[in-house]
Amino acid sequence: MYSARIKTALIILLCATAGILNAQQKITGLKIIENVYNRPAPKDQTGDLTMTLINSRGDTRVREIKQYVKDYGKVEKKIMFFISPADVRNTSFMNWSYDQEGKDDDQWIYLPALKKVKRISSDSKSDYFMGSDFTYDDLGDRQPSEDTHKLLREEEFNGEQCYVVESIPKEEDYMYSRTVTWIIKDKWIGLKKEFYDEDGDLLKTLTIKKYENIKGYWLITNSEMHNVQKDHKTVMELKNLKLDTSIPDRQFTERMMRRGL
């Protein structure tokens, strides 16, 4: 009788343990991507962004930008001041992006030659940012609900235990047919991402070269996007990051676009 009870308890314990393990193993692709999307982020951020464009011959072009970003909850405001090349110096760009589904970003540009702030239509998400290998969509936070996600496998990559998740866009005619992302298990950072074109061929590879924990936030500070079809690369580096400094609201106004740095 006693041994039968122990046996029952053991079976229950084993079942419970197996259930927990099963639940852990059954983390879905969607959940992983949601965890990446919801990774704690600073309320505001200031930094110097350098983009180095490298063509197949090794020739480089450098773009330098000072940027301020602030999350207001339902809206994220960003203002960028272009420092180089010299012919775009003092140009500024402001973007307000909204959580509300279907609401387009509001964008303005200040061109020093025109001396006025001009509202512009939102750039197409598939346009390349300043001639780099990053599209506007690559740089933004893509909503997890816009793709169907599938956990392909778990493997070690660059010494980190990673989930490998395939994401297929729900939208027809999207610029990528699918993406595959290597996500560090305990940090929820994408360490590598492959982008496949409409024919299913590998188009670009994003490699994270450096990520840092600053003020308790995991942030990517150096990444490289390689267009393997055109053998063109863009190295994106973020320096002098300042987080949660309570950037005043007036930073995201026409006044500052005109005044510049």
Binding site: P85, D87, S124, S132, L261
Partner: protein
Amino acid sequence: MKKICKSYILLFLMLVSVSAVYGQSANISGYVRNYTGVLLTGDYNYAIIQNTFNLNFEETKNKVGFKVNPYVYHYQNRETEYGLRQAYLDLYFDTFDLRIGKQQIIWGKADGVFITDVVSPKDLSEFLLRDFDEIRMGITSVKADYYIGNNTFEFVYVPVFTPTRMPDQNSIWYPAPQFSPNAEFDYSQSEVENKLSNSEVFAKFSGLTSAIDFEIMAGYMWDDDPAMHMLRSVDPVTQEAGLTVMPKYHRLGLAGGSFSTTIKGVVLRGESAYYNGKYFSSADPDAAEGVTEKNYVQYLVGLDYTLWGVKVSGQFIQKVILDYDETIVNDQYDNMATILFSKDFLRETLRAELFSYIGLNNSDALIRPKITYDLADGFELLIGANIFTGDNGMFGRFDKNDMAYFKVKYSF
């Protein structure tokens, strides 16, 4: 001339010296440019051979700043031009900015059209062909901006009137005279005296919001273009009719506004102004000095859209003279349109652009195709053309001035 030259050389040296003292905190930028244009009619004469040096020297330190923008235009067969496009001081407060000195002030939402954009006078010495930052002349003024959230109240005081700069009489852009060859000119009233009562004032309230950007403005100014007063006479001896043309500037009041908003990816822009007290030339023999005073309205509707990677922008502009009478030389309704197509290639290093002004009253146009290539960062090659079509009208009158041009520019 030598004195002027010396003074500008001294100015440049002074700026460079100050920059050396200030070290890295000072900001020097500018460009060097060669601009060569050839006429596509007749003997293919050069329309322009110009070398430009443009310098921006600026600094901002906490609550103060300044900017000086000297320029030199060197021509192959014309007198060299020197000037200060801007030279101003800035004072920044929490909710208030003050800018004092020579400055370019640009208002409105229109592109390439001047409706509420009336503060800075225009340099039309090369018609409308100069780059926009070169068409607007700096004007000595005091500009005060008061900020309330995303709204701005701006007040501009201009102590001294500056008229539109017109082409020299020997320029290909000098408009054909509209008077008989025997007409004499009397410039005795073509100056506006430099005194307090002749100042200009402008005010603007503007806002920038998610839904809409807007500006509401008003001004009490001088008309930048003179009215051509005509005095007719009869020689008592020969009994021959004489004509004396007397250019004269008049006061102009105006009120207007502009807006810009986005609807489903399309930017919709509008701008309008009511002008009070404009003098128009009149064919009425009873009109005093051949001019008549009328009010008029000018408005614009514009759309910007990106279609298959091509940026498309169109504007319709109409000018309506109120209380019109048939003797006025100008049309009651003057209609114009502009259209712009532009597309970037090769990672934004190559840009193809086509911009055109279209005069709808006279079926004339200015068509401006151009291709810009960034050979290296900051080093730009540009090839383009200015094609005038039609027989008369604002653009058709320059039908013989079709030109192709080449620009090479290094920005630093």
